[in-house]
């Protein structure tokens, strides 16, 4: 059971590391919009198909 003296402090260190990881993702704005990316990925697929493979970045004149 002596191994617990290593593993439990290790788990605490791990908790703090994961916490730091979450803090970084929060700071970089990854949790600011939780709905958008889900929709966005659905829409983008359809656009390429609807355009018959045309380049999406083709410049267009702005409509009046």
């Amino acid at each position: 059971m002596d191994i617990l003296y290593l593993l439990i402090p290790l788990s605490i260190v791990l908790v703090f590391l994961i916490g730091a990881g979450f803090w970084w993702s929060l700071k970089s704005g990854q949790f600011d919009d939780l709905d958008g990316p889900g929709y966005r990925i659905l829409m983008d697929d359809d656009r390429v198909r609807a355009e018959d493979g045309q380049d999406a970045s083709l410049p267009e004149n702005p409509p009046k």
């Binding site: 788990s11 605490i12 600011d32 929709y39």
Partner: protein
Amino acid sequence: MTDNCYHCGLPIPSGADFSVEIEGAPRAMCCAGCQAVAQAIVANRLADYYRHRDALPESPREALPLELQELGLFDHPEVQKNFVRPVGEHEREAALILEGITCAACVWLNEAHIARQPGVTAVDINYATRRARVRWDERQIRLSQILEAIAAIGYRAHPYDVMRSEQLAQKERRAALWRLFVAGFGMMQVMMYAIPVYMAGEGEMTADIEQLMRWASFVLTLPVVLYSAAPFFVSAWRDLKLGRVGMDVPVALGVGAAFAASTWATLTAAGAVYFDSVTMFVFFLLSGRYLEMMARQKAVRGIEELARAIPAFCTRLPRYPAMDVERIPVAEVGVGDTVLAKPGETIPVDGTVLSGESSADESLLTGESRPVAKVAGDAVVGGSVNVASPLVLRVDRVGEGTRLATIQRLMERAAAEKPRMVEMADRIAGRFVVTLLLLAAVTAIVWWNIDAARALWVFVAVLVVSCPCALSLATPAALTVATGAMTRHGVLVTRGHAIETLARATHIVFDKTGTLTEGRPRVTAALALGQVELIEAWALVAALEAASEHPIGRALRDSAVVGVAPEPSQGIPPHITFAPPGATELVARTGRGVEGRCGGLLLRIGTPAYVAELHAAAEPAEAAGWAAEGATVVALGDAAGWIALFRLEDTPRPGAAAAVAALRAQGLAISMLSGDSPGAVARMAAGLGIGDARGAMTPEDKHAAIKALQDGGAVVAMVGDGVNDAPVLAQAHVSIAMGSGTELARSQADVVLLSDDPIHLTEGVTVARRTLRVIRQNLVWAFVYNVSAIPLAMAGWITPWMAGIGMSASSLLVVMNALRLQGQRGK
């Protein structure tokens, strides 16, 4: 779909012929605006939008040339300095508020469309906040072109100052999420250390291992208590300092006591630890608060968008006393400039009145609800609203603060005003907490004598299980969620009490102008009465109504400028162009007309009775005839007699009759009070199915009529619009203004119908009533829970962790119940 517009879903008026080919089939549209938008969408190969949308867009108001022209002003460096940030040498970045987003497909449509504008290097739209960040190359495209491109597909974009409220909200959101994460992660990990201790049989775990687990739990509970639970301690301390007992007091006491006792047990290696209960309790509590905060921020965002409607531009008179005007951004106005404030407009700057006689509503600034009279020489305050007549002002002080200050005032008002029901719940909760603390103390003393070892835990359990969080959350949670839900229906709630009162309303009183009708009366006939030629009469009209914001004045001015009438045979040449002579000493008399001096001649335009006061001549026969037919008659005259007569008629909004029927189906009595002639009102009321309609009402009459209804026990909701309605709106229990109405009405109203469509009022009433039901359910549940849980806890049958779950679950249940109001998004 044959009778409804393919783009916006509104019914297609008969005779309209607008169609666009979408996905291989011609689709009928209701107006040129929808047609232009649909064409722009198809031309950009974005027709996919129609397949993916799950909500209809707002109907594009027909693009106003003035609005588009004003977009150009956004290219001005002076205007841009507040919201455009340079990125690199030529790149610029701006934050935009997007209006009109109704579903995810809208986000996609906007993103795809903006991204394809040449010169746009990046675009990112946040679905949750409806804010966009756009980055573009200055050499290839201007900001106004981007805004124009957005307008072309039927949305409205406004740059906004990202520095203020939004950043604050984002910081709050991130901090709350971080606290929640720390508590949640701490809870899970502490549970990992606690479970083995619970599971281990007698003698299976050595004392030093158990002590190790306790220390590990302590280390992880420390940040949860010190950081995540900090807001509870801070707010409890604030409450105590103010001599109050809020609902955070028992929470802080419970968390503090349990944590201190557990820490003591860890240090002395004796007794039981309840770190798991502490962390779980904090986590559940924070979850409830997080959900509530999200709902609140959503609601505030709507209010912010409303405040944005206050113009960023103002009217300058560069060569005063010459009355030629130019529209410029407020940021560009300098000290010493002369600006014109039209009635109903927000005064953009602090200044001194040079000419004109009016009154200013300063209630947003001072809380004084009566307008303050303003004559030449008086000082006016930026942010106040000009009520009666045009004012010419000399600018004394400018500040970019004006518009922002107004935004903040509006937001603060909505946030600071506690609805009666919330206040009551808080008061009850306050007394409840005091009782609870006493009960907990008594329990602790009793248990101390029965079983000293358990006394602390029973004490903590009593404190925690019966925390009146659910009671305190019951009302505000439902109200905030309902506010958000109503905003999505186009019903913006700006006052705390509005939802409650709207739900209880028994009468809806409409003011005809601009609420049930288009609000744009049109001139259908004009008649010169011998003094001058008709064309000269029109010139006088243009001069007198030059600064008018009243719908009738606007209609007259518009007709005067182009001189168009639908029936030229009735005496109006199709196109008249001329330079309008300047009019001075303009004074508007609410509900009556305008007086002014034009080329030395004192003129009046308005109701025949008002004009007749000038010359006392008999009313022409046509006036009575037109009035009897239900039209509005406007007369023009001077001291010598009548000059001309104008006939104006208003058409009801497309959905008005349906809205009236739906409101009646909800059990509401409908009345109509209008300043227009009784004939016109009666005809309109008959068409819309309103039984109780009264015409020729002055604001005082309307005020009295509403008071009479209220004395009869009715709860009155007034739907009003114009400048002259402000005091009437204030008299009603709950006032509702149209989004397109004057700023004064909007900023004073409890509720704003952003969509201008009265049918949304029925949805608002439905949501309000459901909100009241949910609040009652919540209160009953919170009460039943507390009453049944406290005796159990006092009897010692509930451990602190069970109490934590019970309390959090009851709070969560209340919040979830409130969130039900959010469902059923508009189709």
